[in-house]
């Protein structure tokens, strides 16, 4: 069970810092999903909520037009614009064409589109025996100096045309490509801010979609320095709330919205918090405390184990969060931004064991001690897994921040060379900042630590419980200094 990945692109939105408008291709281990019977049979159906449609056809070139048509007409059927629909058509065309060359002649492919309100999700699922994992590396068969070579990057082109792209490997050699295309939303909407020093008791409310649309516009109008992409597009935030992909609490004084806080999943085990955004002075942090306590109270009995905030500094953070650290990024325009990472657990610590060695072990020991996290560090003696020849890396790109986030998917004998090749390619693509995320719960990830050190990466941040284990963020100091 593996995964690999490639790419994404980010649209440019004012003050957008996060990944919402980026597209990423990731490959993640997943359970195999049930495979419908009936190969060769085409079927378009809608479920009882009338929100999805699916198609099952042979994975062969003659069926490419049907696959492309399905994506485009499916998107238009769910009232997406021609531009949005065309993005999906392009992605399906590239991916179908790329993978059709790698599967057995009698293979079938299943396509499904699902309308999630603010975005359309499209999956392409097929079986591929003994896949050559090198093909899932961004740098596979690519010479960054060769235009001809770059034309081979079908998945990369596909990734650039949608909002996100991910590749899941399940059992039974099943591979699923999952992509989303966000609706295009206007990024500006005029909203008046409350007058200073509004009077009266503060009450907290769960916003309606209309409330959140208005609040999002207020956040933009307030000039807040850190605004996630979905919040910079008021309509998108409202639609995400309606879809259940975003939660929020607003603070009201009289009829005025005076602040709010939002949260949504960052990983399967960790939530990310945005805000609080406050539009009035807040002596003694009364409103801020109300919002944060209410938000934490509401999510405290959820399945999530942790809550991360990665915006600017938060005065008096220690009442609410543990400080994880700071990362400085040099944006595409050369402007520097600093993200401060805060974290809090949502349930009492369950302990754990981490096998590692070298600089990672030293870093983890310091962080676990500082955060009082009861992890047992066990020396793995530098033992290597029985390594494959080829390693696989996933890459997520955020162009506005000129950031590449690299995630190991599969360890191999060529790990250091593969990392170096990715750095070369990405640097040629104008990327200034490089991070690698290592999940301490995955031995495939831990196997990369020596290669990371050899290629100039150093561990900088620990996000507890953010993956199967903790998440360690490496930063590439040399490249950063060069940039």
């Amino acid at each position: 069970m593996l995964s690999a990945s490639l790419f994404m692109k980010c649209g440019f939105a004012p003050k957008v810092c996060f990944t919402d408008r980026s597209a990423a291709l990731e490959i993640l281990a997943r359970e195999q999903r049930a495979v419908p019977k009936g190969m060769g049979r085409t079927m378009i159906k809608q479920n009882k909520q009338q929100k999805n449609a699916s198609l099952r056809i042979p994975l062969s070139m003659p069926f490419l037009p049907l696959a492309v048509d399905f994506a485009g007409k499916g998107a238009r059927g769910f009232a997406y614009t021609d531009k949005e629909s065309h993005s999906l058509e392009l992605a399906v065309e590239e991916l179908f064409s790329f993978y059709v060359q790698k599967v057995a002649a009698d293979s079938a492919v299943e396509l499904e589109v699902e309308d999630q309100g603010y975005r359309l999700a499209l999956s392409i699922s097929f079986q591929m025996a003994n896949p050559d994992m090198r093909a899932f590396n961004l740098v596979w068969q690519v010479n960054p100096d060769s235009e001809e070579s770059l034309e081979l990057l079908g998945p990369m082109i596909a990734a650039r045309s949608v909002s996100s792209l991910r590749l899941d490997f399940g059992n039974d050699d099943r591979i699923t490509l999952r992509m989303t295309r966000n609706r295009d939303y206007p990024t500006t909407q005029v909203a008046a801010l409350p007058p200073p020093n509004t009077q009266g008791p503060v009450r907290l409310v769960e916003p309606s979609s209309s409330d959140l649309r208005h609040f999002s516009a207020m956040v933009s109008a307030s000039g807040a320095p850190f605004i996630p992409g979905f919040l910079a597009s008021p309509g998108m935030a409202a639609d995400m709330l309606a879809a259940g992909h975003l939660n929020a609490i607003l603070a009201l004084r009289g009829d005025w919205i005076i602040g709010g806080v939002l949260w949504r999943p960052l990983t399967d085990s960790c939530l990310e918090l945005y805000g609080p955004y406050l539009f009035n002075d807040d002596p003694d942090d009364v409103v801020l405390t109300l919002l944060l306590d209410e938000a934490v109270g509401r999510i405290s009995r959820s399945r999530f184990r942790g809550l991360v905030r990665r915006q600017g500094q938060l005065q008096g953070y220690e009442r609410f969060f543990d400080l994880l650290g700071e990362l400085d990024l040099t944006g595409i325009s050369g402007a520097a931004t600093r993200s401060t990472y805060y974290y809090r657990q949502l349930r009492e610590e369950g302990g754990g064991v981490v096998y590692c060695s070298g600089a990672l072990a030293t870093f983890l020991a310091d962080q676990y001690n500082r955060l009082c996290l009861p992890r047992q560090l066990r020396e793995n003696g530098g033992e290597q897994l029985r390594l494959r020849d080829a390693s696989v890396l996933a890459v997520e790109l955020e162009y506005p921040r000129s950031l590449a986030i690299i995630r190991p998917l599969c360890a191999g004998k060529d790990m250091a060379a593969n990392l170096a090749a990715h750095l070369d390619l990405l640097q040629n693509d104008g990327i200034n900042n490089f991070m690698v995320e290592i999940n301490t719960g995955r031995s495939e990830d831990i196997a990369f630590t020596d290669a990371l050190e050899a290629t100039g990466f150093v561990p900088r941040l620990l996000i507890p419980d953010a993956g199967l284990g903790d998440l360690v963020i490496y930063e590439h100091r040399v490249r950063k200094q060069q940039s």
Partner: protein
């Protein structure tokens, strides 16, 4: 196998409770040689002397046979103690089984139960994983809000749970407040009064739900041997109601769920509790006075009324404070899970441990505030 096809939606969406790991593992993980439990409101004086003797003398032969399926002798002892017919008692495997049984007995999908948002979580949990809506009413001044509860009642409300005194705030309704509430609720829904900590309360105005159920037949009382009687490890509690109510709850209760030793120890505890209760109350009172003063000196806000626990507001997030205190061998309860982020709850116990805890807390607070110790 696609389990999702088998699991009801309300179970699929429910997050199971994760209990604390065993002490020996926690000690190893936090690098401490001892661990004082201040997290579960256990009575560290131990059980009443008669119960201690029963446990010590427990013969392995008794483990061979099934226990009394309906805890006959224990119900008989409860009947004598409270002067209530034994058939109006249902002995359960701790009060959690009582909560589960009464919700299963009276609620179906579409029904709802009402309780507070910041109280013992099991009412809410059982309702949720049973497909029953849990309506949660915010506390007012750290206490159950009678009007807030009344405002949420509708035709599908089957049970209202009142934790009296409330865990974790220690607040309680007086007899008059409870009577006023019961009169307004009417007789078409049950009012469960969870009296798990009632033996700690000395206030003469504190209500006895068993008395009130003669006037209000929709009242059900839950009590436990886990708290004052210090038999938490054996799991025994009981439910008291009208005969009709108990007969219905019995249908959804598991026979033989209370083991032999628990029945015997609980019966013995009832027979010998006068001095035990007095000694425990004295210990808790002393600990509360002491810890409140420590917190006042440290400038920490506290909330506590009755019960053997005290809530303390800490200057850092409560989960981090939990871990910091664990590294000093002090296991408290972080309150994020009770929807009280930034608070910890501390069990009030013997002075030697309270002094050790106070020392650890003081050092932590001073470190946090960068004051040289």
């Amino acid at each position: 196998m696609n389990l999702d096809l088998l699991i009801p939606e309300y179970v699929r969406n429910f997050e199971a409770y994760t209990p604390s790991r065993p002490d020996h593992l926690l000690q190893e993980e936090y690098g401490v040689s001892h661990l004082h439990r201040l997290n579960n409101n256990e009575n560290t004086l131990g059980p009443p002397a008669a119960a201690v003797r029963v446990i010590a003398d427990f013969s392995p032969d008794l483990a061979v046979v099934y226990p009394s399926g309906d805890s006959y002798d224990l119900r008989e002892a409860l009947s004598r103690r409270f002067d209530i017919c034994r058939d109006r008692f249902l002995v359960t495997n701790g009060s959690c089984e009582a909560i589960t049984s009464i919700i299963k007995a009276f609620c179906q999908q579409g029904d709802n139960i009402i309780t507070a948002d910041k109280t013992f979580a099991v009412y809410e949990w059982v309702a949720e994983f049973s497909g029953v809506e849990a309506r949660l009413v915010p506390l007012r001044d750290y206490a159950y809000d009678p009007q807030g509860l009344l405002d949420r009642i509708d035709a599908r409300t089957k049970i209202i749970f009142i934790c009296n005194p409330n865990n974790p705030t220690g607040s309680y309704w007086t007899k008059q407040v409870l009577i006023d509430f019961l009169e307004k609720v009417g007789e078409n829904r049950l009012v469960v009064v969870d009296e798990a900590y009632c033996e700690y309360v000395e206030d003469p105005e504190f209500p006895d739900a068993m008395e009130l159920m003669e006037r209000f037949p929709n009242v059900v009382s839950f009590r436990t041997f886990s708290k004052m009687y210090a038999l938490a490890g054996l799991r025994a509690g009981y439910l008291t109601g009208t005969r009709d109510v108990v007969d219905v709850v019995r249908r959804t209760s598991v026979t033989y769920s209370v083991n032999v030793q628990a029945q015997m120890a609980a019966k013995a505890a009832l027979s010998d509790d006068r001095e035990h209760i007095a000694a425990t109350r004295t210990m808790v009172k002393q600990a509360r006075l002491f810890l409140c003063k420590v917190c006042t000196d440290l400038g920490l806000e506290t909330v506590g009324g009755e019960g053997n626990y005290l809530m303390i507001k800490v200057p850092i997030n409560d989960l981090l404070m939990y871990r910091r205190l664990m590294k000093r061998g002090m296991m408290v309860r972080s309150m994020t899970g009770f929807r009280f982020p930034g608070w910890i709850r501390v069990t009030l116990r013997e002075m030697a441990v309270m002094e050790s805890f106070a020392e650890a807390l003081t050092e932590e607070i001073r470190e946090i505030r960068n004051v040289r110790v």
